[in-house]
């Protein structure tokens, strides 16, 4: 693209003394832009929802690794059911909970491709628990992106397997009673116990710092697919302003004060240094 001007058109200049040739708004000076893998379709997600951010991070990682032509995504049933509208790659839209089985089918016939599933907590940790555990136990060389916002978003705010103790939802209107429905499931800690998992980490995207860390984790989880060492799972503790009935800012505050106490951020299982080379 050379020195093409990107944003400033000459007629907008009122200061004629400025030398346009020295304009800093040229492509080589760009420090941030929308990844090319991310399509122009407007996100259907609610304002403030973490899904859009995570989609963008995956798009950035695919672009930076140069693996757009080798990547196949598997979309879930849940709010991210339309994930295939946003990333310019091949996609398979799975039945509810079965994304990791679908991803297994793809990876087994195309072992050299990068295959990832993108799943919410109802999809991955309730109806799809069996597929999740067995995919991880087989050590399928896929990346699982797991969005945990403690609630069923798409169906309108019902209790999820990840809903916090005491947390209200449309199906736990008095708050989750752990004596009646049990405790929330920490699926990342669970699958980290299995020899089949290679990398399990829990991240968040509510602040720029956390977004940067989450991106690094997603990058790792894709890079490790090259090693054929096992399943990589990146859990993102996220928010649901609409069903938590909060503003986006309030939801991010509540996430820090409540979700992160139960779902502590950080790596749960990391490759030994000599292995990850």
């Amino acid at each position: 693209m050379g020195n093409e001007r990107l944003y400033l058109q000459e007629e907008l200049y009122t200061d004629d003394h400025l030398h346009h040739e020295d304009d800093i708004c040229v492509r080589e000076n760009i420090v941030y832009q929308k990844p090319s893998v991310l399509l122009d379709n407007p996100f259907h997600y609610c304002p403030g929802c973490g899904h859009s951010t995570v989609h963008k991070l995956i798009a950035e990682v695919i672009e930076e690794m140069g693996i757009q032509e080798q990547t196949i995504g598997v979309a879930p049933v849940g709010c991210a059911v339309f994930a295939y509208n946003y990333l310019d790659i091949d996609w398979s839209e799975a039945a509810h909970g079965r994304a990791s089985a679908v991803a297994t089918g793809i990876k087994r016939v195309f072992p050299d491709k990068f295959v990832f599933s993108y799943q919410g907590d109802g999809d991955l940790a309730a109806i799809g628990t069996g597929e999740t555990i067995h995919t991880c136990n087989r050590g399928e060389n896929i990346t699982i992106i797991f969005i945990n916002n403690g609630i069923y978003g798409m169906t309108g705010g019902q209790m999820a397997p990840t809903t916090l103790p005491g947390m209200k939802s449309t199906t736990s209107p008095e708050g989750r009673d752990v004596n009646f429905v049990g405790y929330p499931l920490k699926i990342s800690e669970l699958v980290a116990q299995l020899p089949g998992t290679y990398y399990v980490t829990r991240q968040a995207v509510f602040s720029p710092n956390h977004v940067r860390k989450a991106k690094k984790a997603i990058r790792n989880a894709f890079e490790y697919q090259k090693l054929n060492k096992g399943t990589c799972l990146v859990e993102i503790v996220s928010n649901c302003p609409s069903n938590w009935k909060m503003t986006p800012t309030e939801s991010n505050m509540w996430l820090q004060d409540n979700m992160l106490k139960f779902y502590q951020l950080g790596d749960i299982k990391v490759p030994k240094k000599e292995e990850a080379k």
């Binding site: 032509e69 598997v74 059911v81 398979s92 839209e93 079965r98 016939v109 069996g130 597929e131």
Partner: protein, 354 residues
């Protein structure tokens, strides 16, 4: 040179799958069809590089099939009745997403956990839906092990020709018994992929999306109309059936799969008794040979339909006959198999002496 072997039905199906150039099998053990998985696990990968993966459930199996079939590969699964019930959601998705694949149901007695003995109790499930929504499986019903072998190859051809799942529907007896089979030569595995397959998006094409989701009612209806048009075309082009001594017949026995073989013997016994009986055997259960049965109904006095269930294909035979002649039924269930003598007795009781 002919390659003749004495083979068990399930193993012959597995051998035919390898020779068809099948790329992947995903399945879960269940009697009476586990030999398919066992045979493939022993030989397939060594011979052709075919992927054979034992899944944690039938639900996982059918969704692995969905993923791999979406890649444009030749993919299959097999199970028996309760396992096929578990797969119904996935089969509905596969039909809507128009993914070619082979499903094998070696039927056992039901309902419920039922029995491990042979049955034909899944006709309705296979032909009338099973899963949710308006979809059809091309359904092939072999009555010999030779046919089971040949139909595996045919099933993959039809699946890709029509972008539709194909069901090989047989009972546990055909799965378990041994017969002489002539095997076809090894076919090449797929090297060029369908344009719709998720193979990774090159720069020069739009992204491929395998989905059964159409949120706007207009789109969903359009998808249904497209599917129905395809099914009407399949009905025009793919009807298969066999007739036995039907030319001069005054009465016809109808039955599919194993039962049709027994019915042939019964027809011979009936002819020795002086009744002109023929046998009509639908080979494709969808598309069903309505027209062909209707044509015979114009020339005969009555039909006895025989099945190893309580009367499932019977409904389609009656639709085909459309009231032209009486249609009577004899069925056995629970793993019981009708004998030729029993069929003749029922024929005399329900049609001749009525």
């Amino acid at each position: 040179m002919k390659e003749l072997k004495l083979m068990k039905g399930n193993e012959a199906i597995a051998e035919a799958a390898i020779r068809s150039g099948c790329d992947a099998y995903f399945g879960y053990p269940i009697t009476p069809q586990s030999e398919i998985l066992e045979y493939l696990a022993t030989y397939a990968n060594k011979r052709t590089g075919m992927v054979v993966l034992q899944a944690e459930s039938e639900i996982a199996s059918i969704n692995m099939v969905y993923g791999a079939a979406g890649c444009g590969k030749r993919v299959m699964t097999s199970s028996s009745s309760p396992g096929i019930s578990l797969m119904q959601e996935g089969i509905s998705y596969i039909a809507c997403a128009e993914l070619p694949c082979l499903l094998v149901n070696v039927m056992r007695g039901g309902p419920g956990l039922g029995t491990i003995q042979p049955s034909q109790g899944d006709y309705f499930q296979t032909v009338k839906g099973g899963g949710h929504g308006d979809y059809k499986l091309i359904t092939l019903a072999p009555s010999t092990i030779q046919e089971a072998v040949d139909f595996v190859k045919l099933a993959f051809e039809l699946a890709f020709k029509w972008r539709n799942p194909v069901m090989l529907l047989l009972d546990g007896a055909i799965g378990q018994m041994m017969e002489k089979v002539e095997l076809f030569p090894q076919q090449e595995r797929i090297t060029e992929y369908e344009p719709w397959a998720t193979t990774g998006k090159p720069k020069n094409r739009e992204r491929n999306i395998i989905t059964s989701l159409h949120m706007h009612p207009e789109d969903m209806e359009k998808t249904n109309i497209h599917l129905q048009n395809k099914y009407r075309q399949i009905e025009k082009e793919e009807v298969r059936y066999e007739t036995y001594m039907c030319d001069d017949a005054e009465y016809i026995f109808t039955g599919f799969g194993l039962v049709a073989r027994i019915a042939k013997k019964a027809a011979e016994i009936a002819r020795n008794k002086g009744y002109k009986v023929g046998v009509f055997r639908p080979i494709t259960l969808f598309p069903f040979p309505y027209e062909q049965i209707n044509n015979y109904a114009k020339k005969i006095k009555g039909i006895l339909d025989i099945e190893m269930n309580v009367g499932q294909m019977l409904e389609d035979v009656k639709l085909a006959v459309n009231g032209l002649v009486p249609v009577e039924f004899h069925g056995r269930t629970g793993g019981m198999i009708p004998t030729p003598e029993e069929i003749v007795e029922k024929f005399e009781e329900k049609i001749i002496r009525k």
